[in-house]
């Protein structure tokens, strides 16, 4: 038979258990809105039974662990999806900038191309008119300026991306070293039998943030430490050791390198996913394509007009052979495309209306060259397209990139929301549920107290004997 003192201990264990459970519930309620917090559950077990007088009877209850609700599969999915979301999110601003620069409005480059050829058409009706000649030079100047402006603005988008990369990298390094530190703390806490639930929550959140920034694959080693790698396999965090990123400016572009131990690796856009992947791909793949397209358009238009003027034997108002209307600077690199840098270098080579050729005979009413140049606008000069159509193709390409990216961003944001909802369903805190648990534990506490009072009365009776 168990002694009354043992019964007192049994009652006390009930009190402690309820109290601990109330504490866990309280902590859940307090963290209902904490980002990345996982609901904790007091794991209540029956304590070791006692055997006395041939009977085995229970000796109360205890909280043997505070468990953390969670599903590592969903965490993995969240990490992967965050990387995709980060890439689309980061690309959306520069892509929208590119679309704005390759304008399809009334003030876009397409309008300037139309106006330039229209000015020649107008000159054809009055070939020696000063106003009409001035108009041609003016429109040629506007066209060149617009090419500069597009080139300049695309370069500014590149600068903006450089700045974004430079401001992202320090945070990323900080997160990586925090993950390494947490790995160490979690291992130490759990080695001595402690619960590292809060630390694990923090680590999961950091891992998701790192993946959103640079794209990472995640694995867990034998000590329960999280290991992160870039998608090319380079280590970001191994156990309690974090690698670190560094940035340097090379030819006006911010380049990223990863230092792991004593070795440094130079990284390119395809080594990353996430924010950095989105930014680098836009800067190193997308923008150069647009610059190349615009350069080629500027170069083709300028050389076509120049060639026509010189080969058809244009004669200016002074009776001299006409020179090029547009000036272009050839690229310094002999291996580069002939049009490389044309949008930046195109300019009007003539500043005097008398030097403009309207015809090929030097007579005052000869407008034959005007007609030939005006006809250029309808020639399929670039890949079977006229200048205007080529510009429309470039603008449509920018639009398509933006709308595709928007679509993917929405889809990945939806997936991320759905995964978060799933994670919350498993690990999130429902205040209603916690209130019910609170009532349950409170009732348990009251019951245990009543039981203790009863045992005390029994002891009192025994003492009076």
């Amino acid at each position: 038979m168990a002694g009354l003192i043992t019964s007192l201990h049994t009652g006390a264990s009930g009190l402690y258990t309820s109290q601990t459970a109330v504490q866990v519930t309280g902590n859940n309620i307090a963290n209902a809105s904490t980002a990345g917090y996982s609901r904790q559950v007091a794991s209540i077990v029956s304590t070791t039974p006692l055997t006395s007088g041939g009977l085995t009877y229970g000796s109360g209850s205890a909280v043997d662990a505070i468990d953390r609700a969670g599903d590592s599969f969903i965490v993995q999915q969240l990490v992967a999806q965050s990387a995709a979301y980060g890439a689309y999110q980061a690309a959306s601003t520069p892509l929208a900038d590119i679309e704005r620069i390759i304008d399809i409005g009334d003030s876009g480059l397409a309008g300037d191309i139309d106006s330039f050829f229209d000015a020649w058409e107008e000159l054809s009706t009055n070939p020696s008119g000063t106003a009409e000649r001035q108009q041609v030079l003016q429109e040629a100047g506007n066209l060149a300026d617009h090419f500069h402006q597009i080139d300049q603005q695309l370069t500014e988008v590149v600068y903006g991306i450089n700045t974004s990369i430079e401001s992202t990298v320090p945070d990323l390094n900080n997160q990586l070293s925090q993950i390494a530190t947490l790995n160490q703390s979690i291992m130490q806490t759990e080695l001595v039998g402690g619960d590292a639930n809060t630390l694990r929550d923090q680590r999961d959140l950091l891992v998701q943030q790192v993946s959103e920034t640079c794209g990472a694959t995640i694995s867990t080693d034998g000590n329960g430490m999280v290991c992160l790698q870039l998608q090319n396999g380079l280590p970001l965090v191994t156990g309690n050791v974090a690698s670190s990123f560094a940035t340097t400016k090379v030819d006006g572009l911010t380049q990223i390198s990863l230092t792991s131990g004593t070795t440094s690796y130079a990284l390119a856009h395809d080594d990353f996913s996430g924010t950095l992947g989105g930014l680098l791909t836009t800067r190193d793949v997308t923008i150069p394509q647009f610059q190349n397209d615009i350069d080629r358009l500027a170069y083709t238009l300028a050389t076509d007009v120049n060639t026509l003027i010189t080969t058809s034997g244009g004669i200016d108002q002074n009776g001299d052979a006409a020179t090029d209307l547009f000036a272009l600077t050839a690229p310094a690199d002999p291996l580069a495309d002939a049009w490389d840098g044309a949008a930046a270098s195109i300019s009007v080579a003539i500043d005097n209306v008398a030097l403009l050729a309207a015809g090929t005979t030097g007579t005052t009413a000869d407008n034959s060259l005007c007609l030939s140049i005006a006809a250029l606008r309808d020639t399929t000069a670039i890949d079977g397209a006229t200048y205007g159509e080529e510009y429309a193709r470039i603008a449509a390409k920018a639009g398509l990139l933006v709308s595709n990216n928007e679509g993917r961003l929405t889809a990945s944001s939806d997936t991320l929301d759905e995964l978060s909802a799933k994670r919350d369903a498993i690990a999130g805190v429902s205040t209603d549920e916690e209130m019910i648990l609170l009532i349950q534990y409170q009732a348990g506490y009251q019951a245990a107290s009543n039981y203790l009072a009863t045992v005390k009365e029994m002891l009192d009776i025994l003492m009076q004997l």
């Binding site: 058409e121 005052t364 007609l371 639009g399 928007e406 999130g428």
Partner: protein, 292 residues
């Protein structure tokens, strides 16, 4: 599945609220600007058509301008050419008079004087200007085309071509060469008439009737082709104006917002936004704590 109100429900409501407000904002912009495709991503497939239409409008308006310009220049020429025709008719009357055998020497001399006047008048008409350019000088429109005795042509045989529709050009000028010099030389014809009248031989004067008729025919031929070109310009103008209307409506179809559609879409979205807001308010009032 546990629905955790703080996380699941509010997150879902929050993202729906922001999505609906963004969509609504875009609709407001469309309604106020009237433009459906303001950036390429609104409809990348329509970009080519939109820019193509704008370009066609610039060209179409220019072709209309060019047609009117050709008409204006031709009508300046027409005025002078009408006078030349009248002048030649008068010369023919003089020739008929001069061919009369009963005419005295003095009468013939008077007629010869009138022919001299006509010769001077013809030279003036041949050097007619519109603004500061000579009408019948070909490409050399800043230099007086006819001068000297006998009169020579210093202009060129070039026509100033003007584009009136893609790839089609018409001449806006009649050259002095084709009007005065070739095949019939108007100046020589009048000079011959003058000589015939002065020499006093009625048969010679009478022989001038045919060359004079040929000369008048040459001018009438040019006048008639000028009239044809001018009429063709009228046709071209209405053709271009019709196609401009068509291009403008195509542009509008690609680019402009259908206001009825946008407004009904706005009403729909506003209802949806209100519903989301009401649900949000209601969810926050639902709590077990109210009943404990």
């Amino acid at each position: 599945m546990i629905i955790t109100r703080d996380a699941t429900t509010y997150n879902a409501l929050q993202s729906n609220l922001s999505r609906t407000s963004t969509a609504l904002n875009q609709l407001y912009l469309k309604a106020s600007s009237g433009v459906e495709v303001s950036s390429a991503s609104d409809n990348p497939a329509a970009v080519g058509s939109i820019l193509g239409c704008r370009s066609d409008i610039v060209k179409g308006e220019r072709y209309v301008e060019n047609c009117k310009h050709v008409q204006d220049t031709l009508s300046s020429s027409e005025v002078s050419m009408d006078s030349i025709e009248r002048l030649l008719t008068r010369a023919k009357e003089i020739a008929i008079n001069g061919a009369n055998d009963s005419l005295s020497e003095a009468d013939r001399a008077t007629l010869a004087d009138e022919v001299s006047q006509l010769q001077q008048e013809l030279l003036d008409l041949a050097n007619a200007k519109s603004g500061n350019t000579y009408l019948f000088a070909g490409y050399n429109d800043q230099t007086q085309p006819f001068s000297g005795s006998p009169v020579t042509y210093n202009g060129t045989a070039d026509h100033q071509m003007i584009e009136i529709s893609p790839g089609t050009t018409v001449a806006k000028n009649i050259t002095g060469e084709e009007l005065f010099m070739s095949p019939v030389n108007l100046f020589t014809t009048l000079e011959d008439l003058h000589t015939a009248l002065t020499s006093g031989d009625s048969a010679t004067v009478s022989a001038m009737l045919t060359p004079l008729e040929d000369a008048a025919e040459q001018v009438r031929g040019q006048l008639s082709s000028l009239g044809n070109t001018s009429a063709r310009m009228d046709d071209m103008i209405s053709l271009h104006e019709n196609s401009l209307l068509l291009v403008k409506s195509t542009l509008s179809r690609h680019q402009d917002a259908d206001l009825t559609e946008v407004l009904s879409e706005i009403a729909k979205m506003e209802t949806s936004l209100q519903a989301t807001m009401q649900v949000t308010a209601r969810v926050s009032s639902l709590s077990l704590m109210d009943y404990l």
